[in-house]
């Protein structure tokens, strides 16, 4: 088994997928925060 090749792949995979995740979470998270605060303002938010 070529460990060096495996760990190179792991590094590239991690950097690329994590970069994409950060972008997705940034835009999705902003919308989520607004919705969460709206939920908490409503009187029956724990049903």
């Amino acid at each position: 088994m070529n460990w060096e090749f495996l760990w190179k792949l792991v590094l590239i995979f991690t950097f690329s997928t994590y970069s994409i995740l950060v972008v997705i979470v940034f835009f999705g998270g902003l919308k989520n925060i607004v919705d969460m605060l709206k939920d908490l303002k409503m009187p029956d938010n724990n049903s």
């Binding site: 460990w3 060096e4 760990w7 190179k8 792991v10 590094l11 991690t14 950097f15 997928t17 994590y18 970069s19 995740l21 950060v22 997705i24 979470v25 940034f26 835009f27 999705g28 998270g29 919308k31 989520n32 925060i33 919705d35 969460m36 605060l37 939920d39 908490l40 303002k41 938010n45 724990n46």
Partner: protein, 504 residues
């Protein structure tokens, strides 16, 4: 060049100081949204997917995480990456199957010991809650110390200044956690996730630019080539027992580490809880791989400079935890170093706030409330939780600044985590998926977890430790004994009647 030379300058201090004021302001602004206990602990169970991912990553990617993973990379090279692969696989599997977390979220519990009561009765909840709080607070004990060492390495300042800075940071964390609870925690975690992630990715660019992509994979002359890449290599300090222990630890901690699980319990629905884990598998991998990569690069850098290598060897050697912070203080330019440190402070704060909230809510909900005969009002629970947060914070300050772990940072974390996880994993899995699981079996499993504390005893240290006295073997055996205790206890002492229908 001095070992503690750094690019960290005035502009970097300004960036960090401005940044750390933001969470306090948010804590004060969102206080109006906290009306009841569930708002405080699980944000009214209103977390949607993306904010849940950010807050889960913000919690599980702390400065201490960066430190112990960087140390693993510094000491073991690329072979440490196996932990990242295992953790990624376990979290993804939990996300795809909903193993444990889906059912727990369905049951609408706020803490894990709350499930103990639903399934095994009140005494189990109190015992489980006490062991959880004990293991959890001990586990958190060295966070401050690791943070101080990071600051010392990056800024080039002495130990005294770092202690003072960490004390100030802890006070700020206490203020906004007490004020805002989970709502302020999740908003801050979101900001911190973004800042830290960008900092880590750009920081990695500078590191690759300095060392060179090809040079990163050149094995340092002082290192055994096989062990540098292969965790199962003969002569590796890791080895098969360690790898098996990592599998068990990653699966149990992934599903049941209270601060992370709290995010699943805060999710809008059981389906979101599942999705949260599937998506977060990427950030769980990144929280391991990127700091380990920094640690590897730090060792490659150090090994090219004899005077630096000498500083990490011999009787007066600097702790290997300093390898990564000293390295990034030298190779990352001023200005950006401030942004990166702000991100690391963010990691420090987001982990502390969540852990403080987790353990204090366990003490309130699972120890104090069940012990009290009368019903505790929400107002009283909030007050007790806030008192606990401050008390734990003060304990951490004293423990973190004065206590030195007898073993390495990651070993200490893994073993103290096992105190809780060995029992909890067994009890929760059996409680959810095995109808014959009994209260006696659960109690045996929970108490068995305490055996893990043997894994940080003096007999685990030294060069010629027998395999059965190593910390990894003791911790792995703790899981096995807890499991056997549950099975044997349940068959020998079955429950006459199950307390509730939970888990069926």
């Amino acid at each position: 060049m001095d070992v503690f030379y750094t690019n960290f300058g005035t502009i970097d201090w300004i960036i960090v100081l401005v940044y750390i004021c933001i969470p306090v302001v948010i804590g004060i602004l969102v206080r109006k949204y906290i009306k009841q206990m569930s708002d405080f602990i699980v944000a009214g169970r209103s977390l949607r997917l993306f904010i849940a991912i950010a807050t889960m990553t913000g919690t599980e990617l702390g400065l201490v995480t960066v430190m112990y993973n960087a140390e693993m990379g510094f000491l073991h090279g690329f072979s440490a990456f196996h932990i990242a692969i295992i953790e990624f696989s376990c979290i993804l599997a939990i996300g795809l199957t909903g193993f444990i977390v889906y059912k727990l979220r369905q049951l609408r519990v706020m803490t894990i010991p709350e499930f103990y009561e639903k399934r095994f009765g009140r005494k189990t909840r109190i015992v489980g809650g006490t062991i959880l709080a004990l293991g959890g607070i001990l586990n958190m004990g060295l966070f401050l110390q690791a943070g101080a060492r990071f600051m010392m390495g990056v800024t080039g300042y002495g130990n005294e200044a770092a202690e003072l800075f960490m004390s100030v940071m802890l006070i700020m964390v206490l203020v906004y956690t007490v004020l805002g609870g989970m709502v302020s925690v999740v908003i801050n975690d979101f900001i911190q996730f973004i800042v830290l992630s960008i900092g880590m990715l750009i920081g990695s660019y500078f590191i690759i630019d300095t060392i060179g992509w090809g040079n990163l994979f050149d094995i340092p002359l002082t290192i055994d080539a096989d062990s540098w890449f292969n965790p199962l290599a003969e002569g590796s300090e890791l080895g098969p027992i360690y790898v098996i222990f990592m599998v068990v630890l990653s699966l149990s901690a992934g599903a049941l580490w209270q601060s992370g699980t709290l995010r699943a319990l805060s999710a809008k629905s059981p389906k979101v809880a599942k999705q949260l884990y599937a998506w977060s598998s990427i950030s769980y991998m990144a929280r391991r791989v990127i700091p380990m990569f920094w640690g590897i690069a730090a060792f490659v850098f150090v090994s090219q400079m004899p005077q630096f290598l000498a500083a990490f060897q011999g009787t007066d050697a600097i702790s290997s935890q300093f390898g990564m912070p000293i390295f990034i203080g030298m190779v990352i330019p001023s200005g950006f170093l401030g942004l990166l440190c702000a991100g690391m402070f963010a990691a420090f704060m987001s982990t502390h706030d969540s852990y403080l909230l987790s353990w204090s809510s366990v003490i309130t909900q699972d120890i104090v409330a069940p012990l009290k005969k009368g019903i505790l009002s929400d107002k009283m629970r909030l007050l007790i939780t806030r008192i606990c947060i401050v008390s734990i914070g003060l304990f951490l300050l004293i423990w973190g600044l004065w206590f030195e772990a007898p073993v390495s940072l990651w070993n200490y974390m893994a073993v103290t985590g096992t105190i809780y996880l060995a029992g909890a994993f067994t009890v929760i899995v059996a409680g959810l998926y095995w109808k014959k699981a009994s209260t006696t079996g659960a109690m045996i499993a929970l108490f068995a977890g305490l055996l893990a504390i043997l894994g940080i005893g003096p007999w685990t240290q030294g060069d010629n430790v027998s395999w059965y006295l190593t910390d990894k073997f003791i911790a792995l055996m703790t899981f096995i004994i807890a499991f056997l205790g549950m099975v044997v206890g349940s068959y020998l002492f079955p429950d006459k009647q199950q307390p509730e229908e939970a888990g069926k």
